[in-house]
Structure formats: structure tokens, C-alpha cells
Amino acid sequence: MKIVVCIKQVPEIGEARINPVTGTLDRSEVPLTINPIDLHALELALQLKEQNGGEILVISMGPGSAEKILREALALGCDDARLITGKEFAASDTYATSSVLAGAIGILPAVDLVIAGEKAIDGDTGQIGPEVAAFLDLPIFSYVIDFYLTPNGHFHIERLTERGSQSVEIDPPCVVTVTKGINVPRFPTLHGKRKARQKIIQILDASSLPIHRERIGLEGSPTRVVKVENVQVERKGIILRDMDEVEMENSVEVLILGEVFEGKVEQTTFQAIAVGQILHQKGIRKVGVLLGSGHLNDGELDKTIHYGADELYYLENPVFDSLAYHVTARLILQKVNFLRPSIILAAATSQGTTLMPYLAAKLHTGLTADCVSFDIDPRDGKLLQIRPAIGGNIMATIKTRTLPQMATIRPNTFLANYFPQHLGRITLEKDPTNYQTGFLKNQLRKDENSLDLTEARVVCSGGRGLKNAHNFTLVEQLAQNLGAAVGASRAAVEQGWISYPHQVGLSGKTVSPEVYICAGISGALQHLAGMQTSGSIVAINRDPEAQIFRVADLGLVGDACEILPLIIDGLNRRKKHVRV
């Protein structure tokens, strides 16, 4: 088996430094290391090689110093390494980077498998894997949690989705991105280290690769960071560089790619439509929504209109339910080429973060991941895409020079709005074609209770302030209501109200959900160490002086045993309301 692993050199966690003398970001002295999730990608390759034989090539695009991480991969047991480096590649965005990596992989004979980490901790987009797959025209499987070769020589792949998991069998070749849970990376041995020092690493530059010059580096990057600002100090943003002016086309229209699960349109799709409506108020003409599935329940189309769709296109074909993104992308592309929207948006779910990069690469356009805010630039009518960067300390505003302008939206940052009076047009297309996915087996398993604390998007935690095990169940009820995972302070674990694997903090788990809700937790330093990078923090505490309020975005001062039931009740009522 011939395996290619793509790895990246990143700054060590928390190492973005401010020079104490000059007060500016100090890039020169930041220690660099291998992207942690890439170690899991390497481990998968090594295990596959041990079990089935074969050869592993590691590639990295980056500065000369990235040679070090390639040597680390060689020390672990990879056979060969290539470094793609040169000034011409500098400032590449994910589109440009993927096109280069795909170019380097494309010239290799008979690659069976390309593996990448789920995302890099610095850029945090997760777009490289799907975009590489699109350039290579290969099937993509993201968020892979299990992978092996069956006795018949098929790949067995299991990937995680919000709703559970998908397991597929397919013939090589394909591209996978792996999650941390897939394996435990090994450490290199002394002999491995010694051998790696002797090896020659092939250096490639733009001239040695079959790539379009106009697709690499800053010039080849469709997205531009136009502004970064510190989240703490509002409006004190520093302008990095201004936009290159691009002629706008007339048709200003936004297309939302929606998701359907078991015949129902997902809530995250309604949230994305709400973004469309926000843009509509800023001058975007129409909000289009594209849904695809094998089956849709009665009333779902009308409901989608009432959430704000002006034009709703529904493609009916079972291939959408198979999550074969390399196939569904083709169908969506046809529609996009026909509609020619200037903006395409989707929720940053496991589907959105896989399908959108795949589409972006095919459309030769840029994609901004995980946006939390949008605006329209009044000067040129272009979409301003705002997302957290560098661990959330900074907000970056990004513009796309090419069309369409694409972005994924962080789930649960926008509120879905129901407009019972809203009118829209529905276009229904039943497509009878039996599309070939290449999947030899495809099984979707529903499992909504498997929420891993560290992966959960919402975490509800309780502490000693809840007083007893009975009150602690309020936290569990709230979590169930929100589809959240349950966390706890060490004090709550010590009381035996919940088991140790739920402990958040220095000696428990480190979590970084989009929303962290905690009740009766004082906010001891060791607890904060495990949750302070969360997107938003909601704290319920009786003591207005509690340390937790210093990190909270929303603080509720009061008795948790009174407040929690009110919230749970409110959620229950809202759910009923929405159903009507």
C-alpha cells in the first residue's frame, strides 16, 4: 500500500508572543512544532504499514525549518519525505496550499491513501484534506475515528458526525482526515532518530511541480485577511492591508447549503438562513437555499421558507443521504453553476466543513471557515467574513477576491428566526438517476449519547454549589435539553455526584466548546485551566464576587437550584413553540 501523509509545522500552543520591548507580535522566536493531530495521521499510516506492508511518504509545504517535522516523521518509521518550500509559496491560503499539495501528490504513481490531520491548530480551518481530495478527484472522509484494510483489500472507514457515525467500505484510493480519538501516537526511538538524521529529504519548489503559478502563494490565494482586531479592545483594530479591488457582478444573491437528517431540515440550516436574512437587510437581493436528500417530511419545505428562504431548491435523490461528498458535490456544482450565487454559506457541521472545501476547490474560489459574524463592505458590496483566529484572542476579517465568496458558519452563534408570514418560492427536482458512490458498504449509526466531553460543542458543568447529587441532575437535564455534554468541577467529582471522566480542569479534561455553561462553580484557577478557551462562558453562581464571573460572558447571580429549572422549562416551552 502506498500512503501519503500531509503534515504541517505550527507554532507551539499558546506561543503567539508579544515582544516585551516593541509591543508587536514576535514571529521570529516562536518555537515551531508538528501539528499535534498530524501525529495521529502518521500513527495511522504506520499501523497500516505494519499490518499490510507498503510505503509511507510524508509531505509538508512550509519554510525550510519544516524539515525538522519531516525528520520526526522519518524517525517514527516513515520511508520518505518531501518538503515543498520557496518564497513563491509564502502567504498561501487553504486553496493555494491544497492545490500545491495535490500537485505534489498527483505526480506520484499509484497512491492508495492520502491522510491528513483533521485540522491544524494555528489556522483551525480543517479545509486542506477536503480541498486536496477535490483537486485529486478522490472521495473524502473527514473526522475519521477508525480505519483498517479488510481481508478483501477494501478500506473500512468509520467517521464521526453530529448525529452518530458513518461506516463505509470502499476501494482505494481516497483521502481521509483523522481525529485525535483514532489512535495513540507512538514516540520515536533513539534508533529511529539516528536513522532519520542520515536520510535525505527531497526539496521541491514551484518549478519542480506541475502547478499553475497563478494558483500559489499570495497571488494565488482567493482570500485576504483585511483586518485583525483584538477581541478585548473593541474598535482598536489594526488595518493589515487593504483589499485588491475586484469588479462585482450584478447578481447579488446568497445560497445556503442546507442539511437534512431523517427527513427533517437541521436547526443549523435555519441558523444559516438567518445569516442570509441579516445579509438581505444589508442589501443582498435574495436568500436562496439548496436542500438535498432522499426524502423530506411533509411541511419541512414550508417550514424552511418560514425560516427565511426566498428561493428554495430541493433536489431529491438518495445519494444525498449516503454522505458521499465526492458525488453530491457534483450535483451541487451543477446547481451552483446554473444559479451563479455570489455568496455560498453553510453551517460548519461535519458535513459543511467537508463539503464546502471540496466545492471551493472545484469552483477555484476561497473559503473562510467557522465565521461568527458577517457584514457587507459598503464600498464594494463584498462579503466581510469575520472569524476568531489565534486561539480566539483575535478576530480576523476576511474577504474573498474571487467568486463565489464562500464561508462556513459556526453553529449556534446565530439564532434561527421563524417568520410565519414569510413567502418564498419552492423549486422541486426529483432526480431518478442512480449515482455510483463507489461505497461497497455504507452504514449510518445514530448515537446521540456518545457525546465526548472534549469534542462537544456545548458543555454544562456543575460544582459544589449544587449541594447534593439530586441537584446535580439539574445540570444533566439541562445538558440533555441542549444536546450538550456534562462536565464537573473536581469538588463535584470528589463528592461522588459524577464520575471522574467528567472532570474539567487542570487534572481533568481540557474542553473548548462553543458554549460552556457552569453552575455552582467558583472558578478556581485549576478549573479555569480546563475551560477558559471556550467560545462563550455562562456562569450561574450565588456569589457576585465569584472568580468565575471574571471569565464569564454572561453571569447569572443567584441560586442555581432556582435558575436551572427555569432555563430547562423555558427550553421545553420554546421547543414546543417551534414545532407548531
Binding site: E12, I13, R17, I18, N19, P20, D26, E29, P31, T33, I34, P36, L39, I69, E72, A75, V184, P185, R186, F187, P188, T189, L190, G192, K193, R194, Y500, P501, L506, S507, L525, Q526, A529, E545
Partner: protein, 469 residues
């Protein structure tokens, strides 16, 4: 035993007038957090009557003056991560929590010194120093939790003591408030000082019984640019335990750390951290850390050390030289103490320190002791400086109460006969004070008492600590 005055509402009014409403707590629920430190033994819990959180040194002076006038017991407290019961208010009274005195006052990079208040979390110092390419080397393993004042009071050591020494090595000056409320200063931003008795290093390790440290002058070092960690599993622990002699004396090399973890201690660590080392069935694992300014030099050192580990019987030698892998290896080692405290709250948990060449003999002795008394004994810790953490827990805990004093006696007699001491880094505090007579003659303990009396004639500062009854 001296008598202390109970806290009255009048006292509370006075304390509030000094530090403000918010700085004084009497609510029982809040006091609970101050009734313990990280010592697992549930019998070592005492409630304070009031917790005071001063902001300024002058406030501490006023409080101490008042408490000495009224004979009120005062227990200074850092982060409460101590393992000797040092911060537990054995006689109630005031807990003086230094958590709000948490300013880093100065980074003097020309003189390679930092000036800090006691409540600074130790890791904060290193975070602050990093952009200057400097670091404070005296930190313990609990660096993300503990406060520098607590470190000084316990003369904490850490994983890197083999090369860098312990907290005291870096303390060049202290300011402290005496029991009667005076503010004194000894030392400063200086490297050498024989201009008086070494009061600085008398305060270091005094466990809050001699004075309340309010300002600290710490020496700092250039931050090593390159690091590597070696991990080696062994089937035979004998050559592994002999490694300090092999490496430090025979090879003449000085790694930053030489850590030892026996199979049993790792089993608890694995369960707690949900990760395992390769070769989990090995009888022990050795962890070596090497650091330096140049990658090549570090490479040559670990290459040479790794080769030697093979000669000594290592089954394999793993190398981590990037931050992710280094952390992956240390994380399991760091999980061991908490894992043990959780799993074995009734254990005998030791912090003895012996001459490094005597370690194999001591460990063999512990094995015999274990057989005799049916004990399980996880052993881990700082092999390179002779400071192993030995846990002795009853496997049949029916007669534990009877056996425990006997086990202690056998164990301490052995440690003393090897020229060892009662505690290497955690301190005597509340927990070990009754064992002092195993290690010191009455005259020696008498000198300690006279010293204490010279600083604190009424005995109001951290009573019932260090010295036996």
C-alpha cells in the same frame, strides 16, 4: 501548648477596617476550602475562624500587629497545594491567604532578577519571563497551581532539580512581616551575600512559622532553546535505580531530570490520565530530560545517554524532542501523585531524601517491608536527587491503625541509618512533625525551638507546625 484567643465580632470589625469588606470571610461554606490542603488524609482538616485576603504589605503588618496584641493564631496560606498540611489552620484563628498579593513587580533582565509578591502563581512567572527568553528554574511540578510564596515556605523542588537545584537556589532576597508586624528585608538583587546570618535561607523552608514573606527577589536564567526527553522501560529495576551514580558520577553528565516510576505507580497514573507508556508491563520506567542552548549539543547528549541506557538494560529508548511529545511523556508522570491520593487516601505517603548511591538499598528495603506487612508500594519521583516518593498502603486494611506506627518506625529508622532526611521537598508541616525525633537529637530540636522563639516569641505564627509537641 499556648492558648489562643477565639475570634470575636470585634476582631472581624477590625480586620474589615484594614482590608475592606470583601477581604474578610467568615461564611462556613467558604471557610471549608481553607480547612485543608492537598494532603489526602481526611483527619488533617481544621476550620479557620476567619479568612483574610490582604492586598498590601501594610495591611499584613496591621493584621499581625493586632493578632500579636490579642494572641490570635495566624496561618499563612498560598494556593493550598501543599502536601505537609502546612497551610491547615491547626488551631483555628486566622488564615491569611496571600492570593491577592499576586503582582510581578519587576523583570530586571539586565541583572537577571525578578521581584514578585508571594501570591503569584509560579507558572505565571515563567509565562511573564518567556518573551525575554528567560526562565525561573526552581519551580515544582505543581507549578500551575502553587504560589511562589508557598514554594519558598516549603523550599519546593521540582522535576529539574538535578541540574538546576530547588527553590532556595534562586531566592536571593526576601521581605517579610514578623509575628509582631514589623517589615524586614534581607538580601536583594545580589548573587553573593555574607553580610549577615543567612536569614534569607532561614525563611526558605520555614513553612510560615517564622514570618510572612511579602516580597521575593528571584534569580532567573536564560531559557534553554532545546529540550529532549528520553523514556526507557526496564525489566530489572536495579540498574535503573543505580542510574544517578552511572550518569552523574561515572559519565560526568548532568541531565535536568532523572525520574523513576515503578510499575505500580504507573498503573495508577495510566488509569488516571487514560494514557499509557509503551512497554506498560516493564518493571519500571526512567525519564530523563536534557536541555541546552543548542539542538546539536542536546542531540549529542541524549544520543550518548540513550546508548548507555541500552547498556544498562533498557528494553527500548524513546525520544521526545518536540513540545507535544515531551508533554505527552511528562503528563503521565505528573498524574501519579493525584492518582495515588485519589485511589489510596489512607496511605503513608513519603517524601524522604537519601544520598543517591543508597537508593537501591532503600528500595530493596521497602520491598521487604512490603512483604512483611502486606503492603502495596507505588514508588516514583526524583531519582536523580535522591528524593523518591514512596507510598506504603495496606493491602488488607483491617489492622492498618495498629500497623501504621510500626511501619513508620521501621521505615524512618532505615532512612535515617542511610543518612537520609524526613522530607526532601514537601515539608514537615502538620503531617510529619511527630516524626522529627527519628531524625534529630533533642538538642537539635531544641535549637529549632529557640530559633522559632526568636522570630515569634508568642508562637502565633502557624502553630502546631514543624516542631513536635
Amino acid at each position: 501548648m499556648s492558648e489562643f484567643k477565639k475570634i470575636s465580632s470585634q476582631d472581624i470589625t477590625f480586620f474589615r477596617s484594614v482590608v475592606g469588606e470583601q477581604g474578610v470571610t467568615t461564611e462556613p461554606e467558604a471557610l471549608k476550602n481553607y480547612s485543608r490542603d492537598e494532603t489526602p488524609d481526611p483527619t488533617l482538616r481544621r476550620f479557620p475562624e476567619v479568612v483574610i485576603k490582604p492586598h498590601e504589605t501594610t495591611e499584613i503588618q496591621a493584621i499581625m500587629h493586632y493578632c500579636s496584641q490579642n494572641t490570635i493564631a495566624v496561618t499563612p496560606r498560598g494556593a493550598g497545594s501543599g502536601l505537609s498540611g502546612g497551610a491547615i489552620p491547626a488551631r483555628g484563628g486566622v488564615v491569611l491567604s496571600l492570593e491577592r498579593m499576586n503582582r510581578i513587580l519587576e523583570v530586571d533582565h539586565e541583572n537577571l532578577m525578578v521581584v514578585v509578591e508571594p501570591g503569584v502563581i509560579t507558572n505565571e512567572i515563567n509565562r511573564k519571563l518567556k518573551p525575554y527568553h528567560l526562565f525561573y528554574a526552581g519551580y515544582p511540578m505543581s507549578l500551575e497551581t502553587c504560589q511562589i510564596g508557598g514554594n519558598i515556605a516549603e523550599n519546593a523542588g521540582g522535576g529539574k532539580a538535578v541540574k538546576y537545584g530547588v527553590t532556595g537556589t534562586y531566592v536571593r532576597g526576601v521581605e517579610f512581616v514578623t509575628a509582631s508586624g514589623e517589615l524586614l528585608k534581607f538580601g536583594g538583587k545580589i548573587f553573593k551575600d555574607v553580610s549577615s546570618y543567612d536569614i534569607v535561607h532561614l525563611l526558605v523552608g520555614s513553612e510560615g512559622t517564622l514570618g510572612i514573606v511579602t516580597r521575593i527577589y528571584l534569580k532567573v536564567l536564560p531559557l534553554p532553546r532545546a529540550r529532549a526527553v528520553l523514556l526507557a522501560p526496564f525489566d530489572d529495576p536495579a540498574p535503573a535505580l543505580h542510574l544517578p551514580v552511572t550518569i552523574l558520577s561515572e559519565m560526568g553528565m548532568t541531565p535536568a531530570s532523572i525520574e523513576y516510576m515503578n510499575h505500580l505507580s504507573l498503573e495508577y497514573g495510566y488509569r488516571f490520565s487514560n494514557h499509557t507508556y509503551p512497554f506498560p508491563e516493564a518493571s519500571c520506567h526512567i525519564l530523563l530530560e536534557i536541555d541546552g542552548q543548542e539542538e546539536e549539543v542536546v542531540y549529542r547528549e541524549y544520543d550518548c545517554l540513550g546508548e548507555r541506557l541500552f547498556q544498562e538494560g533498557a528494553k527500548e529508548v524513546f525520544v521526545a524532542d518536540n513540545a507535544v511529545a515531551i508533554e505527552d511523556i511528562w503528563r503521565i508522570r505528573r498524574a501519579i501523585p493525584e492518582a495515588l491520593h485519589l485511589a489510596l487516601p489512607q496511605e503513608i505517603n513519603e517524601d524522604i531524601s537519601v544520598p543517591v548511591a543508597s537508593i537501591p538499598e532503600l528500595v530493596t528495603f521497602v520491598e521487604h517491608l512490603g512483604q512483611e506487612f502486606h503492603l502495596i508500594s507505588p514508588i516514583y519521583g526524583h531519582l536523580g536527587d535522591g528524593n523518591l516518593h514512596i507510598t506504603l498502603a495496606g493491602s488488607q486494611n483491617d489492622q492498618w491503625e495498629e500497623k501504621e506506627p510500626l511501619i513508620h518506625e521501621c521505615f524512618y529508622s532505615k532512612v535515617a541509618s542511610l543518612g537520609g532526611v524526613l522530607s526532601g521537598e514537601h515539608g514537615v508541616g502538620f503531617k510529619r512533625r511527630k516524626y522529627l525525633p527519628y531524625f534529630y537529637h533533642p538538642e537539635e530540636i531544641n535549637l529549632l525551638r529557640r530559633l522559632k522563639a526568636a522570630f515569634d516569641p508568642q508562637g502565633i505564627l502557624n502553630p502546631d507546625k514543624v516542631l513536635p509537641d
